[in-house]
Each structure stands twice: as structure tokens, then as C-alpha cells.
Symmetry: C2
Subunit: 332 residues, 2 copies
């Protein structure tokens, strides 16, 4: 497994966040976010032979880890920069996390959302006072629509993941995790745009350099896998997967961390995602969304990588449409 990390020239152009930024973020977001609990499960330990620890970001404010990065970005802004509010495009969790963070700070939030996004997430954005502009479900149309929104409103753009403040915010999750459960041999999280993986890599490479970082990805949206093996970003404009949080592609900031620090990208099928999600609901009695289940599915699929080890699994969110559960349809 060889990959070419981002070149030095590319990296120098970016303001790569450091672990100090993670620590500053942790202090900044503490009043507005949860220190989420870590759960264990005998069932999953028995199935994998591993000692699994589940970091429950589904219990995070706004129902997903995205609250960390969004809150850090919003509360990092000067009063002047925050004047016209914030704006973003997002398939859901970043949208509602940014809306909530803006509401906490008392500034407006504009969100460009694909019209195919889960109804529950749209309602939640509006519940936090966010204003939605719909777009087509492709990255290109999202970005085009957002440009118009920003031009009109003068809002400050907070990218869902290609932003050092967001990555530093997501890094607070693994900081807590390492504090709660020391000595992990590996950490695994799902990868979409790569914000959580980047934050995890940033934190682990600094305070737990022996902990391997795995990214788990839907095979039907495997741009990170293909990029990882090609040694450069290969974007995917409109992949189709039930893991609605993972339909986006790597960008320079997250590619920096993926190319430098990730041990491997593990792919899973749609059926494996649904089975893992259902099994977590059934046995752990917690609600996780399909994106979270991607990491669980990858551990179940690769016991050889994890058996006999202490493994941290980041359950990234729990925002699902309860009227539209995947095992009610035939998604296989």
C-alpha cells in the first residue's frame, strides 16, 4: 500500500491546523457541545474478536460530530466577519450544526441543501433558524448555488470540511476519545469529505502516534479509496449511497491528512451498511445514521485487521428519518 502524500508545495499553500488549534477549539466549543459518552458492546466484541469502544457522536448536539467543527468556526469569527452571518452547502449534518452554532452566537445562517436531503434534516435546520436554498444533489450544483447566496447576503462561508477551523473542531472528538479510552491500537471513522478523518489523524498523530487511523467508505462513493491509491484527489460529482453524509469528495485540506496519516481506506457495500446499522440499533439500543454504520460495517468485514486489538469506532451521527428506514425498502 503506497501513496504519494500531497507535495510540499501544495501543503505550504495551506494553513494546516495543528494540535494546538485542536486544544483551542476544545476550549472554545466546550460551552456549546457535549463530551459524548463511549459505549462498549459484548455482542460486537464477540463478533469481531476485538475490544471495541464506540464514541457516540450521535449523542452530540444537533445529533452529529459536525457540531464540533461548525461551532469552532462560528465562534472563531471576529464580530466584523460574523456581521452578515454564515453560509454553507451540506447534505445535512453540517447544515444543522452550522445553523445551531449561528443561533448560539445570534447571527443568521444560510444553507444550500440538495432537495434530496432527508426531510428530518431539513426540518432540523429550520428548527435552528437556518434558511434553506435548495439545489440539485451534485457537488457542482451545490457550489454554484452557494456562490449566488453568498453574493446576495455577504455571509461568511464555512465549508463543511475543507476548512482548518472545521478540521481542528472535529479533532476534539479524538482528543476526548483518547482521554476516555487510552491505548487504542486503531481508530476508525467514516469518510466523506474527510473532516472527521482529518481531525482524528491530526489528534492521533500528535498524542497517540501508534494508533492507526482507518477510513471507512461506501463502495458506491469510493472517491477517497481511489484517491488514496492514485496518490491524488479523484473527485466524484454525484455518487449514490444510502450513507447520505458521505456523498462528497476530498479537498486539499482533508487530502493533506488522508495522504499523510491514514493507514487504509476500507470499502463496504450498501447491504453491509444497512445490516450494520440495524445490528447497532438492535443490540446497542442506539440510533445511528447510515454514515455511522459504514465504520461499523468495515470493522465487521475486516476482523483480521482488528481481532485482539483495542479499537475505537467513531459513530458520527444519529440523524435519521424515522419514517424512511432503510430496512423498510430493498436497498441491496
Amino acid at each position: 500500500m503506497t501513496t504519494s502524500p500531497a507535495t510540499e508545495t501544495e501543503t505550504k499553500r495551506l494553513a494546516i491546523p495543528t494540535y494546538d488549534d485542536v486544544c483551542a477549539a476544545h476550549e472554545r466549543i466546550a460551552p456549546w457541545t457535549h463530551r459524548t459518552p463511549v459505549l462498549t458492546s459484548q455482542t460486537f466484541n464477540d463478533m469481531t474478536g476485538a475490544d471495541l469502544h464506540f464514541k457516540c457522536e450521535n449523542f452530540q448536539k444537533a445529533g452529529a460530530f459536525k457540531a464540533r467543527g461548525a461551532t469552532n468556526a462560528v465562534f472563531s469569527l471576529s464580530d466584523k466577519a460574523a456581521e452578515h452571518g454564515v453560509a454553507t452547502h451540506s447534505s445535512g449534518n453540517h447544515a444543522l450544526s452550522l445553523s445551531r452554532a449561528a443561533q448560539c452566537r445570534g447571527i443568521p445562517c444560510q444553507v444550500v441543501m440538495p432537495h434530496t436531503a432527508p426531510k428530518a434534516k431539513m426540518e432540523a435546520v429550520r428548527g435552528y433558524g437556518g434558511e434553506i436554498t435548495p439545489c440539485e444533489p451534485s457537488l457542482s450544483d451545490r457550489e454554484r448555488t452557494l456562490d449566488g447566496v453568498i453574493e446576495q447576503s455577504g455571509a461568511h462561508f464555512v465549508h463543511p470540511y475543507n476548512d482548518p477551523r472545521v478540521i481542528a473542531g472535529q479533532g476534539t472528538c479524538s482528543k476526548e476519545f483518547m482521554d476516555q479510552v487510552g491505548g487504542l491500537d486503531a481508530v476508525i471513522a467514516p469518510i466523506g469529505g474527510g473532516g472527521m478523518i482529518s481531525g482524528s489523524a491530526l489528534t492521533c498523530s500528535t498524542i497517540a502516534p501508534n494508533t492507526r487511523v482507518y477510513a471507512a467508505e461506501p463502495a458506491q462513493a469510493d472517491d477517497a479509496y481511489r484517491s488514496f491509491h492514485a496518490g491524488r484527489i479523484i473527485p466524484d460529482d454525484a455518487p449514490d449511497t444510502i450513507a447520505d453524509g458521505l456523498r462528497v469528495s476530498l479537498k486539499p485540506y482533508t487530502w493533506h491528512f488522508v495522504s499523510h496519516y491514514v493507514t487504509d481506506v476500507l470499502r463496504v457495500s450498501e447491504g453491509e451498511i444497512v445490516d450494520a446499522m440495524r445490528l447497532v440499533w438492535k443490540r446497542m439500543k442506539i440510533v445511528i445514521e447510515p454514515s455511522s454504520a459504514v465504520a461499523v460495517a468495515a470493522v465487521l468485514k475486516n476482523p483480521g485487521l482488528f481481532a485482539g486489538q483495542r479499537v475505537g469506532v467513531i459513530l458520527t451521527g444519529g440523524n435519521v428519518d424515522l419514517d424512511n428506514l432503510p430496512w423498510m425498502h430493498d436497498n441491496r
Copy 2:
């Protein structure tokens, strides 16, 4: 609100468990059960004006608080008494908790279950090695069928709630709860046969005598409400409610605690149960079964009783059939 407690003569015939029995039970079951976490929810606090604390017995072994009482009963038995295994009748959670406890001890378990019990619970009983004998969904047929099973096998009967060992076991839940969250003004739990309410009353009346104990009951299975107000047990043979764990009636041991220590019995409709269940899944991201939602619904329905107070809500279990969720049908 006046009630006549069980007469002294009645009480004297019963071996009423004491708080010492709860402490002994706690030590006995510790290796086989979880100390379950307590969660809070800003959403539910905002909705009720109360400071709510949720004791998550849905995370308990076998998915319900019943693991406490069943494990205490099974591990209280002498080797001689345990020789031919244990037997019971149950709508589900006691059945699988007793099967699991018997499996932990290495003895057989026979279970009489209504053929209408959720499929998921039947599968779980078999998964723990329990042997199921089906019966009609009425208390009278359960008891009749069980008599035959015991006669044939010589198994030791562990009643799902009318048993001092079971009540002492359930009392360990509130013991932990008071330790985790001190100074509760009230505790509320669902009531079916009354095992959890009896255990809670036993513990609270000893170590937290100022904590009021409320029982929450489906209006469609309100034998406890009617008994409470009549001052005597009024059984209900085959009530119909979505809260499948609460279709049974009080018996002398649980009537003792209900009549002496319960502040009030609060009734909720089927629609209120489903709404509360769905809201817990959606906002707290945890899987609870309809019986658990009865207590949540009662708090939501009676803000006047709880606003401004510290309230403990016991979420009794999380065993649901994911293919058959109540909001998929019209149960209202």
C-alpha cells in the same frame, strides 16, 4: 387521593423484601448485569420545564431492567433448588432475562409465552437457550400452561414480578440511580405487574424517603390505576396496549408496595405512548420500547406535577421489533 393499603394481615403473610435484600441483590448480580448510564436531554427539559434524568435500562443486559430481578432469583437458588432449572411465563423481557440468567448459571429455562409476543423477543429467548411453550395472550392461559410445564419438568418457578427476590433485584436500579443522581424530587417508571415500581418504592422509601414515586400506565391497561383508587387489586385478564410489557396485573407483593408507597398512577393513551417513543428515538438517539415510553409520555402529559423539579425517569427496556415499528401503522 386516598387508598387503603394492603391490610396488616395480608402483609404479614408475605415475606416482604427489605432494603438489605436490595443491597445483597446488587452484590449478587453485579458480575452479570450493567450499571446502566443516566442520560439527560435539553429537548425534554425544555418541553417539561423539569430537570429530567433518564436511567437507561434499555442498555441493560438482555435489553431490559428485568435482567436484575431474574438474575437475583436464579443466583439466589440453592444447587438443589436449581437442579431442574427454572420456568416462567412472560410477555417477553422477563422471559429473556430469565433465560440469560439461567444460561449464566448453566441451568435450563422453560418459558411460557403468548404467541402474540414480539418476534424479536421470542428469538432472543431462544438465543439465550430458553425453551418456549406458546400460550394464548391472557394471564389465565399463561398460568394454566405454566402449571403443565412445571409439572412435567420439575423446574423452579420464578414469577416475573410477584416474588421478593425479583422485587429486590429490580430495587437495585433505583439504588444505582440515587447514587448517580442525588436529590431527586420524583421517580417515575411504567407499571405492568409492578415489579419495577415495587423495587423503586422499596429503595426510595428507605434511602430517599422524600422522593415521590409515580407509576405510569397505559389507559388501555389501567388495572393499577383502578386498583390504586379502589384500594384493592382489580385484575385485568387480557388488556390490549402497544406497551406489550404492561399487559399484566398487580399481585400481592407488588400491591403491597403500590398501596403503601406510590404517590399516584398516571395514565396515557396509545397515541401518547407512540409519540413519546418516537420523540425519544428522534431527539435522544436511543432505542426504547413502548413500555418505556409510557413513563416519558406521563411526564410530558403532566408538566404541572414535575416542572421546576429534579425527576428521574426509568427507561425500562429497548427490545423492539425493528420490522414492526408503531409509527408504521395506525395505532391511534
